[in-house]
Amino acid sequence: MLKTLRTNDTALMILFTLVVLAGPLILAPVGAGYPDLMQRFVIYGIFAIGFNILFGLTGYLSFGHAAFLGVGSYSALWMLKLLSINIVPAIIFAVVVSGLFALLIGFVSLRRSGIYFSILTLAFAQMSYNLAYSVLTPITNGETGLQLDLEDPRILDSAGSAGQVASPSFFGLEMGDTAVVPFLGMDLQFNVGFYVSALILIGMFYLSLRIFRSPFGMILRAVKSNQTRLNYTGFNSRPYTLTAFVISGMYAGLAGALLVCMDPLAGAERMQWTASGEVVLMTIMGGAGTLIGPVLGAGIIKYFENIFSRINDEVVLGWFSALPDWLAEAFTTVISPFLGSGWHISLGLIFMLVVIFLPGGLVEGANRLMNLFTRLSGPRKNTASEEDAYADKGSLPTKAAPSSTVVNTKES
């Protein structure tokens, strides 16, 4: 299967797989080795990869992708309630439903572009959110949120668990199961749910790689670059953008389904526009239009959200304990509003800085550092090196180092 890829992409794919599968080992030393958190890294990674297929390639900025996440969650949960506690039908159903939903919304929204498209998707998402809260309460259970129940019919396997609420499983492997392995003084937690999601993430990453490297992906990049020209080139751009929209909606639905498979509770706030904003943040922060960027962004935001928001004044004061009291307190006063519950301030600021100074996100930042490093260490070159840089941007396989942005940052 990997034969179809170029060597560099194969290397990227292998590295990506290894890093993801070694998740518990890598994340435990940095205090993020909990099943719950690791699952979120992976699931939001899928969400962001899907968003990137739309925004990164076509440049259409959707502010309503949380709607698909929510639809995925609700439909998966209903499947868990009605059909079987096995996650497979739930996931398939969720992807299909969110795909259909995306087809509908995309068909309407993609009639406009630019800011109008953003506002249309935003309006649709807010509408879905409000509907989930009010009219659709029988389906969504409104404010309380939808969850598994003792009375769930579960046509296929209701006999299995009497007397207690079942927990989602993959042919008997429960998502919540965790094997704790002591290693170098740490407890590594190998969790079923994490590995199920991780395998799906790897598959989804491969899919997105294939899309990026296909003629379809190239045409989508042409949409972003100059849509009018593309139309005069003989392509009908709308079905292409619609396909991208539906694919990315299905990714979001998949992520939503996985969320309820890990924690069988779906609330309407999952569809709110702040949630749509979050995936935008992740994608931009990591690097829109690059392969690895969105996953990176999702991981970083979820990580810092978890770590930063747990830091309170006392912890900060602890950092400065070596300093005189008054100085320590001064530092604490300055820093603590940005941590703990104030983490969102830092997030917003960092995001603004990224948009202002580093529109290509962290991946571009890593590239710049790399270039700086090579320039400093290597002998001074003339302008030819600049031309090489241009050459590397082309994503066709004839050059040794194609599509630099992706390959160069695999270390991160």
Partner: protein, 253 residues
């Protein structure tokens, strides 16, 4: 035999009659220029060819198929390629990709989806694109992004993008507008080479008489929304009606 036929086209903008019963027929494998003073209706006419404007009455047909009401991509798929007044390319993509995209459109049609097919395996398309780039002299820089190109090179790239589709008709909208003399001459040479090497019908809208008389086999002169003369270049030069049209406006300016 004529490939593009314009019959009785009228277009009115408010009180202004921009096109007044325009009749035009472009013969196959000719280089047909449409000239005329400012405001004669050249751009309006072109916009009727490419589906941007709908005439109030009349017909525009290409190979006996009406072009009116077609979307830009449908017009392209009938075999008409178009070069823009200011070169329009996909700036963020590499030069090679810029040429491969129209090649795909030519081979696969307006919408053909195979999301997981690898670009690297499309060797036929790539070779085709590389051959055209060789012809226009951009082969060495094919992996550079298009954004960094000079205007003259962008024009070359645009030509390559059109040629790779093997169009039956190539529409050129003031291909040398805003160019320096040297670039203009380069463009003329480029067009000459293409004209000799390919069996393409050209329709060019142009201001610059030097360009027109270097290239055209046939010229239509448009004045105040009306075709006043259509003839060979040598007959156009001294034609009294043409002089009147140009000098008339020159005086009023």
């Amino acid at each position: 035999m004529s490939i593009l036929k314009v019959k009785g086209v009228n277009k009115r903008f408010g009180g202004l009659l921009a096109l007044d019963d325009v009749n035009l027929s472009v013969r196959e494998n000719t280089f047909h220029a449409i000239i005329g003073p400012n405001g004669a209706g050249k751009s309006t006419l072109l916009n009727c060819f490419i589906g941007k404007l709908m005439p109030d009455s009349g017909t525009v047909s290409f190979n006996d198929r009406s072009l009116l009401g077609l979307e830009p991509h449908e017009i392209n798929q009938t075999g008409i390629s178009r070069v823009f007044q200011t070169p329009e390319v996909f700036s963020e993509l590499s030069i090679l990709e810029n040429v491969m995209i129209p090649a795909f459109a030519h081979r696969d049609g307006a919408f053909h989806i195979s999301p997981f097919k690898s670009l690297a395996k499309e060797t036929a398309i790539r070779e085709q694109a590389e051959k055209i780039l060789q012809d226009v002299g951009l082969i060495d820089e094919r992996h550079h992004t298009a954004s960094a190109m000079s205007r003259g090179n962008k024009r070359r790239l645009e030509m390559a993008m059109c040629l790779v589709q093997q169009p039956k008709l190539l529409l050129l909208d003031e291909p040398t507008a805003g160019m320096a003399r040297a670039d203009t001459n380069n463009t003329i040479d480029l067009l000459k080479t293409i004209n000799e090497a390919h069996n393409i019908t050209f329709v060019v809208i142009e201001h610059d008489m030097h360009v027109v008389f270097s290239l055209a086999d046939r010229i239509s002169v448009l004045s105040q929304g009306h075709v006043i003369v259509e003839d060979h270049p040598e007959n156009i030069k001294g034609h009294p009606k043409v002089q009147e049209a140009y000098l008339g406006t020159a005086e009023s300016e």
